[in-house]
Amino acid sequence: MSIELINVVYIVAAALFVFGLKQLGSPATAVRGNLLSSVGMLIAVVATLFNAEILTFTWIIGAVVIGSIVGYVAAVKIEMTSMPEMVALFNGSGGIASLLVGWAALYNVDNTLFTYVTIVVSVVIGGLTFTGSILAWGKLSEVMPSRAIVFGAQRIFNGLLLLALIACSVLFCLDPSASSPYLYAIIVLACVFGVMAVLPIGGADMPVVISLLNSYSGLAACAAGFAIHNNILIVAGSMVGAAGIILTNIMCKAMNRSLANVLFSGFGAVKQATKVEGEVKPISAEDAALILEAAQSVTFVPGYGMAVAQAQHVVRELGEMLEANGAEVTYAIHPVAGRMPGHMNVLLAEASVPYDQLVEMDDINPRIDKIDVAVVIGANDVVNPAANDDENSPIYGMPIINVNQARTVFVLKRSMASGFSGVDNPLFFGENTRMLFGDAKESLSTVLNELK
């Protein structure tokens, strides 16, 4: 196949990516959208194999087989609750692939200075995406502590790191070659930078990090596209980059924080919230069941705790039972609940909760005062009223689901420990709040049995 013909196929592939992404925007067409996009990928790969520059297929076949097996097994075996970790790992593999593509492009003949600059960009973004994603995986899977890790001279260290990275990049571009020592320095520095960038970000801010890394993996592919003069890499990569930025922005807005604030300040490190005092009112599962039985409207507010307790199936069962009992049941989902954008929606979908019962924060808040019972399952910061009225709280200004305005609130909680951000939650001491202590799954099962 001639280069022209291959490029025509790439245009078709790009069109399929566009249609695919468009159809991913609605639940009814999303499956087809993903399929279209994968067909686009397939024809782009097949067309590339006809490129006259490709002489030997031994390595390619070996690598594709290995990659396919690993990817397939990972995708099929992974539990839905571990989805954030999986997405992080896939992100990381995209990042390192772009780094290597940029690196290998150094061996092409007749590279211009512009090409060398884009090679450096793809190596840097690819490298930091790779190690950043690995670290994000470590935090999400709790292989390492998921809280923000901050040390004294961190900002100075990061600043120096960035300076060194820029210096090495400039020195490399002045005398570019595949054997330049600055190349290795750039790779190492970019990888260290990825680690340092994710280290000070706490678990509750992970949705932002995951979307940002997603964006970076696209940008890395885009830069690699410039390095090898390939249109499809540029088009697809930059679309992904833009998509990731939008998600990042949505996540930041949902926390009322700027991106800079999320990236550079450990959560709750500076301010101390006003101490909340009062008495919590525990409730037994039996009593909770009685109240739920009489409720006309019930809304479930899930958080990361639901994922940890694997409680989504019990939640759905309880929801169905209450519905059969005549109550109106909804699931109110905060945009940053969980560890990645839309995390809770996926878990509830796994438990066969129909997506039209999932409502967004802005839809539930105006009518939450008419809800009889709000059941908070493993959510904390996203329902913390201190965000509305305690100016000293580190999460002040963050939009929350105002469950404290519901007629009754049940909070399912393991113990009285504070949330991920380490912020006290006045909700627990509210007049209309009842605490249902214990493992969320067990508590809900008991409630369910009482109702039967």
Binding site: L21, S26, P27, A30, L35, S38, E53, I54, L55, T56, I60, G62, G67, V70, G71, A74, A75, V76, M83, M86, F90, N91, S93, G94, A97, S98, L100, V101, A104, V109, A178, S211, G218, I228, H229, N230, L233, I234, V235, A236, G237, S238, M239, V240, A242, A243, G244, I246, L247, I250, E320, A324, M340, P341, G342, N345, V346, A349, Y355, D356
Partner: protein, 100 residues
Amino acid sequence: MEAVLLGMVLMLSIFLGFELISKVPATLHTPLMSGANAISGITIVGALISAGSDLGTMSTVLGAIAVAFATINVVGGYLVTNRMLSMFKKKDSGPRGGKA
């Protein structure tokens, strides 16, 4: 000149990406992200060329490792997205146990 043309392509694609994504409902954020992530595996195209063209052992090895990683990204990304999306059901459609 080529750099300018590529820059043009870049600019248009970024705007297209913004347009395509900005109206996606929160429910689909995760599949959207992993679907987009699978697309970023497009870097496999570059990897294939490096792995297959005879520009020395180093280039081939780098390319081959890149192919392996990019394939993980592509295959895993699309499959897992499909797995997630096929769970999203509208009320009273698909096989469900019915109401108790």
